[in-house]
């Protein structure tokens, strides 16, 4: 629901297809589900809650959206112990102290004007408050990154912001947004986020991309790698994801790997190169020792056979 007094921003996109197209032209391939959630979040002025494994491109969405819409990106990286002082606002204590001193010296007989100790110009804005301020480039994009790292208390603090687009400062009053920011919240799911927070957002689970989508992504991000290498890399990674590893490689790892292989002047995968670059794809020793060697060679030969098969059937 749009609150009274808010200026409804110009609809950023008219259709879901427009979302996909715009993001695509900026270099981000969005799946249908993601495009729909993003479209809804923009149209209904609600936050978008993105959950998914590390390295599937959650943070990237916010960055791309900022670029496509030409808005400011305000990023709040969450961490354990994050509190209001770092997330929303803080008082400039040094200036407050100086102010007390100055008042005392200028009017020694009078009681210092202590009412003015908590003035708006003593307020230091942190990301959440900055996102509420009017911005000449339009409502900014507020990225609350990896919220699962912050404590539960911080989630509760976000509730007011997400439902009423305002922040209450006890000494000053309530600061409401001129235009609600576009909020994107990401989580790596290292703990469950409270339902009350999820209820105020559109939820989207960012999954690993399909084979076709991942090839498109590689063609965009690592064009130097030839079509053969791209296809092999994608098929290899896709097979790895079906291997019940402790941490499956994400899209970020796929791109890293393809770029690493380009650096090594590799035009097609071979067992030695796969083994020596395994650390780019897998980040747990258990996983690496399981895949490296014979298992990697087996997957590689399967991938190569499948690709040749595909070529033949197409020809």
């Amino acid at each position: 629901m749009l609150k009274k007094g808010f200026v409804k921003p110009m609809s950023a996109f008219d259709t879901v297809e427009a979302v996909q197209q715009e993001l695509g032209s900026a270099g981000y391939i969005a799946s249908d589900g993601l495009a729909v959630s993003l479209f809804l979040a923009l149209a209904k002025q609600r936050a978008l809650f993105l959950e998914g494994e590390a390295g599937v491109g959650k943070t990237e969405i916010a960055k791309m959206l900022a670029r496509v819409l030409d808005r400011d990106l305000i990023r709040l990286q969450c961490y354990e112990g994050l509190d209001i002082n770092q997330a929303a606002y803080e008082w400039n204590y040094a200036r407050q102290l100086v102010d007390i001193q100055a008042q005392r010296q200028s009017a020694t007989n009078e009681k210092p004007d202590a009412d003015n100790l908590f003035r708006e110009d003593f307020l230091i804005e942190r990301p959440l408050l900055r996102a509420l301020r009017a911005n000449p480039r339009g409502a900014p994009i507020l990225l609350i990154d990896e919220i699962d790292r912050a404590d539960e208390a911080f989630e509760a603090y976000l509730l007011e912001l997400l439902s009423d687009w305002q922040i209450s400062i006890p000494e000053l009053g309530t600061i409401a947004a001129a235009t609600p920011p576009i909020v994107i919240i990401t989580s790596n799911r290292t703990r469950e986020i409270h339902d009350a927070l999820k209820r105020r957002c559109f939820y989207h689970w960012v999954d690993y991309p399909s084979r076709e989508v991942e090839r498109e992504i590689l063609a965009l991000k690592a064009p130097e790698a030839g079509a053969v290498l791209q296809a092999q890399v994608v098929d290899f990674v896709q097979t790895l994801r079906g291997q019940q590893l402790f941490k499956s490689p994400g899209v970020a790892e796929t791109i890293d790997w393809a770029q690493a292989l380009v650096e090594l002047n590799c035009v097609a995968l071979d067992p030695q190169t796969v083994d020596s670059t395994m650390g780019v794809l897998l980040k747990y020793q258990d996983d690496i020792s399981r895949i490296q060697g014979s298992e990697a060679a087996r997957i590689l030969s399967e991938v190569q056979a499948a690709l040749v098969q595909g070529e033949l059937s197409r020809a």
Partner: protein, 438 residues
Amino acid sequence: MIETVPTRISHPTPKLDQNIMLFVRLLRAIGLKLGSASMLEAIDAAKTVGVADKDFLYHALVSCLIKRREDKPLFDQAFYLFWQNPKFHERIRDLILPRIKAAGHQQEDVEPMLRRLSDALADPPDDPPNMAEDVEIDFDTEGTAADTDRLQHKDFEMMSAAEIRHAEQAIANLQPKLPRRSARRSKLSSRGQLIAMRAALQHAERQGGMVIPKFRSVITKPRPLVILCDISGSMEHYSRIMLHFIHALTRNHPQVSSFLFGTRLTNISRQMRHRDVDEAVQSVSHLVDDWSGGTRISASLETFNHRWSRRVMGQGAITLLITDGLDRNPDDALGIHMERLHKSTATLLWLNPLLRFDGFAPKSHSVRTMIQHVDHFLPIHSLQAMTDLTASLAKMQTQRDAKLAEWQAAARRASLAADLVPAYAQESAYAQEKGHTA
């Protein structure tokens, strides 16, 4: 002396206030937290909607007296009994109000529906202490102090159905001391070591510019708890009581994730959050379909590590693994999965009901494999064992168990020689251990 309470509510009577008051007292006695403001609200609401329609009355009372969804099932049952069953109505009045008891109450008055409510009533009500003395529960004479004492050391496996019920009540009253860790947040405290500038300046504003330093100190928060409980055939006698144990922990702790495993792994954390333990156990039994079947510890741990560990093990979680460790077909990967589990958690406690035997020694292959990767190895077969565990959970991390270290060393030696041991020897070790349990 209370006058006759109308047993039908189809026509309004001046006794409505009194009935609602009685009803609220009944609700309090079965554990709902209701103040007198709620009671006045309820009376007012009932008068507003009138009592002609039972449904309206019901919803009016629900809206005033239910503050948490979990209380609803208990409320529903209490409502049914109180407002629709004249005999019970009289009985409850006898129970709740301090007065000379009318004679002639027969056991057959008690409908099957009543058991849960009567169990709830048998619990000492936690609100007004004087009421507990007044209430005399005539349909439940067990659960005396001597009984409880005897039950303390009795193996759950040996308990009768009635004893199990009492044990369940005792478990519900457990007061676990949970492990905490320091959070990265602070709160105002006069003995703190961090400067609290904001509070100091707020004070200065009120005091006309006099800045007096204020302090903050770091707070602690409970570590998340993860419970993995075996419900296979060999744990059959314990699984129900363990659910009650998990429920008691869940109620006392903000962050408990619980899983059951037999042949497959089921997450029951949400179900366990029902306030009412019977509700919780019932919804779990609908969810889980591998009760008392085979055990696949290795595969279950693999699933847990793969799908859940990173979701629930954050923030220094403590893990309770409740199993007898008997896996008829242990695969070679069991050690790997146990090691993974051990590495993901701050402390891994293995609670094993088999440990009740003095002569217990890790003999079977699966137990030997698992014991190498745990921090503590403790019994969980009796109320006493449970009480000891919950009382010392908070200190677990700093303690070391000499006996366990000895077993672990032996297990390590044995696993080095394991390749030399023929399969039939392991089988017989299993049978021996199994025979021990019978």
